[in-house]
Symmetry: C2
Subunit: 469 residues, 2 copies
C-alpha cells in the first residue's frame, strides 16, 4: 500500500473533486509558491468549474487566479490576506461572489468548528514519505513551519500532499501525520526558493522608522510588562524588526529573561532566542532562511498550528498569553480602528493575517506607523476598512508622538511618567492632515467585493468595488 | 488567564461532570498510576454516580474500582486491556453492564469517529504548563509517550490535565497542546515511578523461551522480509525481547538497515535504534526507563498518537506499513484464532491492546508461545475468547515446531526450504494435549460480562461469567 499518485491530475481525479467544491491551500511558500497555480491549472484542464479557494493567503505569484476567475473555474475566494495583484482585480469587481477575509486565528477556528468545510486540501510539503507524513523543515524547497496547514489536514474530506522531496518511510520529524493524508504527489518543484524566503529580512535604515522603533521599545519599558516571563510578537516590517533589535539590547542590559516570541519568524527573532533573551520561539510561519534553519535544529524553536497560535475557539491559544505585540497599519482612525486590508485608493492589498488575533490577545497592542502613508495622513476619522477593532488597540506610535487609547488610562499614566511624548489621536490626525492635506474621497461603487470577518466569524466590515476616475 | 484549578475536586466540579457521563484515562503510568483512583475517589465523594470509565487499560493498581462498582459510582468500563485483579471480579459478575473491550487502534478510531463519546478526559502528564501544554517525557513521574491520550484530548468535551510538575509557559516539547485543555491540576504525585516503569525489562533465561526466540528470528530470515527497509514490532514478553536481541545480531551481521520498530518500547528496541539496525522508533508507549530517556533525547525516537499507531479508520496507520510482528498468546486454536483476554479458567486477565491491530497490519504475524500454558495445551479446537482472528495470523512458533496458516502456502514453502521444523497446527494441538491432557470444560454462566470489539468496532466475541466449582 502506498498513497503515491502518478501525477497531480491522478490525485485530483482520485480525490473526487467536483464542480462547486472547496479546495484549500496554505501560504508557507509565500511568493515562491508553485502549488496553488499548478493545482488550479490542472483543475481547469479537467473541466471542473465553480471552485472555491480557501487559502490562508493569496500572493502576487497567484496572478493566474485572475484568468481562472474569468473562465469560471474559480468562483469563490476565502483567505486571510490578499496581495495587491489579485486584490486590485477583485477590487475592480472581477468576481461575482465577495471574497471572505478571515484572520489567521479565525480561519482554523472556522475549519475546526465545521463552519468552513474543505472538500480537498492541498498541502505543499518540502519533504514527505509515501504515506503522507510530511514537513516543511527539510528539502530543497524548505519553508519551515507548516502551522497554517494543520486544521486543513485534520478536517478536509480529502488531503493531497504535494512534495518535491520524497523521504524514506517513516519521516521522523513530521509536522502533519499520515493519518490525515489520502494521496501523495511528487512534482519537480513545489516552489521557487527565492520567493519562499524573502532573502534576508532587513531592518529599516530609514531614520523615521528607527525613531519609531526606539520609541516603541521605550513604550514597552514604560508599560511595566518588560520583566521575567515577558512575551512578544512582532511582524517582519523594517521598523518592527528594528524594534526587536533594540529590545534585545534592553533585555540583555536589564537581564530580563522572556518566555516566548511569536509572529512570522525572522532571523532577528532567532537572535533573541539564541542570545538567551527568550526561552522559546512559537512558530506558525518562517519568513527567512535563518528562521527555517533554526526551526530544524533548535528544540526551543517550536512549530505550532494556526489554532494553537491564534484560534479564538481553541480552549486557549498562544496569543492569549501574549504580553506585547507590535503591529503595522495603513490607516488608523480616531477610534483606534486599524485598516490593513485596503490602500489609499481603496484597493485590496493585504488582510488581517494574525493582526487582529494578536491585538485581541496581547496585554498591550502597539501600532507603529509613520504619520504619512502614500502622502496621506495615517490617522483619519474613519478607516476605509476595519481590519482590527479599536477596542483591542492600546497605543499608536508615530515619529511625531504616541497616542494612547482612552480606555487605557493606566497605560497613559505610565507613559507620561516615563516622559514619553504622549499626544491625543486627534492631534496625530490634525498633524497628518496638516502635512498631507485632507484626502479627497475615494470613488467606491455599490458592489460588495469582500466581506471582512472578525476572528470570531462575525462580520466586521465589507469592502466595496473601486471605480477608477 | 490561567487554567490552574485549586484542586482535583474543583476541576471536576468546573468540568460539569454529572451522573451518567463517561470519563477517560490513558495507561502510560501503568501499574504505578495514581490518577484514575484519585479521580474516581473524588467523584465518589462528590456523590456522582453511574459513571462509565473509558480507559486505554485497567491495571491491578486500579483495584479500588471494584469498590466503586459495588457502590454504584462506576457502572460501565470500556478498555483495551484489563489486569487480573479487576478482571477476576468482572468475570465473577461484579458489574451489571458488560465491559466493552476494544483494541489500541479501535479505541481511538471509535473516539475519532464520534462512536465513543467522552465527556471529561483526565490526562496524567508528568509535566505541564498552566495553560495545559503537556508531556510525559520529563518530570519526576516521567512515563514517556502520551500517545494513547491524544484522541481523548482532541475529542472529549472537557479535558483536565493532572500533573505533579508545573513548567514555565510555554512548555516547548509538548505532546498535547493547550488548544484541547480546559483545566490543569497540580497534585503531589501522579504515580509511583517503580510502577510506571517495569524496572529494567529482562529477556528470558528460560531455555524454551530462548529456543522459540531463535526460531522466530530464523522464520523472519526465511520469510524474505528481512531486507533494507524492514520494519518490526514486538511486545515486552521475555521471549519476544530475546527475539529482538537475536534479530539485532542477524541484522548487524547481514548489514540490513531497517526502517522502524514499534510496540511497547523497551531498552532492547532502543539498542536496535542506537546500533543502527533501524532508522526510527515509533513510540506510542514506553515500558522502561531507557525508552523514556531515549524518547526525550533522540530525535529518531518519535512519539506517535494511538490513531497514528493503529487506527483502522485513520487514512493510514503505522501498522499498515509493518513487515513483521511477534505477538504472544494464552491460547491459539486450529483456525489460528488467538486468545489474549482470558486465562485457563476463563477469567479476564488481559486484552488485545495492540495485538489484533498489529496482526491485521503486518505482512507476517507471528505468535510465539510455549506448547503448554498453565499445564494446558496452547493449541485448542476453539479458543475460549477470540481476541485476534486467525485470518490475520500467519505463523505459530512453539518450542516443538512451527505451524503456518494454510492461507499462506507461499510462506510455508519458504520455511520448508529453509529447513525449519514446520508442522501442522493440528499436530501442535495433539502434542500439547498429549503432554497436558485434554482440559476439562470451564464452568461458565449465561451472563455476558464483556463484549470484545474487533478493531473496526464489530463484535468479535463475548465473555461470559465464570462459576467457581
Amino acid at each position: 500500500m502506498s498513497k503515491l499518485a502518478a501525477s497531480l491530475r491522478e490525485a485530483i481525479v482520485k480525490s473526487g473533486l467536483k464542480d462547486g467544491m472547496t479546495i484549500s491551500f496554505h501560504h508557507h511558500l509565500r511568493n515562491g509558491d508553485y502549488v496553488l497555480n499548478m493545482v488550479v491549472d490542472e483543475i481547469a484542464k479537467l473541466g471542473i468549474k465553480d471552485i472555491t479557494i480557501n487559502a490562508s493567503s493569496i500572493f502576487d505569484v497567484h496572478e493566474p487566479l485572475i484568468k481562472h476567475i474569468r473562465n469560471g473555474v474559480v468562483t469563490g475566494i476565502e483567505c486571510d490576506y490578499m496581495g495587491k495583484v489579485v486584490g486590485d482585480a477583485i477590487s475592480h469587481g472581477l468576481m461575482a461572489k465577495p471574497v471572505i477575509f478571515r484572520t489567521h486565528g479565525g480561519r482554523p477556528a472556522a475549519i475546526d468548528t465545521g463552519k468552513s468545510h474543505i472538500d480537498v486540501a492541498f498541502i505543499a510539503a518540502s519533504m514527505a514519505d509515501e504515506m503522507g507524513n510530511c514537513t516543511g523543515k527539510y528539502g530543497k524547497s524548505a519553508c519551515g513551519s507548516l502551522g497554517y496547514a494543520v486544521s486543513d489536514a485534520q478536517h478536509a474530506d480529502k488531503v493531497i500532499v504535494v512534495t518535491d522531496t520524497l523521504a524514506a518511510y517513516p519521516l521522523n520529524d513530521f509536522s502533519i501525520p499520515e493519518v490525515y493524508v489520502d494521496y501523495v504527489v511528487k512534482v519537480d518543484e513545489i516552489g521557487d526558493p527565492t520567493g519562499i524566503v524573502s532573502g534576508t529580512t532587513k531592518i529599516t535604515r530609514d531614520p523615521v522608522g528607527l525613531r519609531m522603533a526606539g520609541t516603541a521599545v521605550k513604550v514597552i519599558e514604560a508599560s511595566g510588562l518588560l520583566k521575567d516571563g515577558f512575551s512578544f510578537q512582532t511582524g517582519a516590517g523594517g521598523a518592527s524588526l528594528a524594534a526587536a533589535v533594540f529590545l534585545k539590547d534592553v533585555m540583555l542590559h536589564k537581564h530580563v529573561k522572556g518566555s516566548f516570541v511569536m509572529g512570522g519568524i525572522t532571523g532577528f527573532l532567532v537572535d533573541l532566542l539564541e542570545s538567551g533573551c527568550f526561552q522559546s520561539i512559537m512558530d506558525v510561519q518562517c519568513f527567512d532562511q535563518k528562521a527555517i534553519d533554526s526551526l530544524a535544529k533548535d528544540s526551543n524553536h517550536v512549530e505550532v498550528s494556526a489554532s494553537h497560535y491564534a484560534s479564538p475557539f481553541a480552549k486557549s491559544a498562544i496569543v492569549d498569553s501574549l504580553d506585547v505585540v507590535i503591529l503595522g497599519a495603513t490607516q488608523v482612525d480616531t477610534n483606534f480602528n486599524v485598516n490593513v486590508h485596503t490602500n489609499s485608493k481603496g484597493l485590496i492589498m493585504g488582510g488581517s493575517g494574525g493582526h487582529s488575533d494578536a491585538a485581541a490577545g496581547a496585554k498591550m497592542t502597539m501600532i507603529i506607523a509613520p504619520l504619512s502613508r502614500a502622502r496621506m495622513s495615517l490617522v483619519v476619522d474613519r478607516v476605509q476598512t476595519i481590519s482590527t477593532p479599536g477596542s483591542t488597540v492600546d497605543v499608536v506610535v508615530t515619529q511625531r508622538g504616541i497616542a494612547v487609547n482612552p480606555k487605557r488610562p493606566d497605560l497613559l499614566e505610565k507613559l507620561k511618567s516615563a516622559g514619553l511624548p504622549v499626544v491625543t489621536i486627534e492631534y496625530l490626525k490634525e498633524l497628518g492632515e496638516k502635512i498631507n492635506g485632507i484626502p479627497k474621497p475615494i470613488h467606491m461603487g455599490d458592489k460588495v467585493v469582500a466581506k471582512v470577518e472578525y476572528r470570531d466569524g462575525t462580520l466586521i466590515d465589507t469592502i466595496k468595488n473601486v471605480i477608477d476616475d
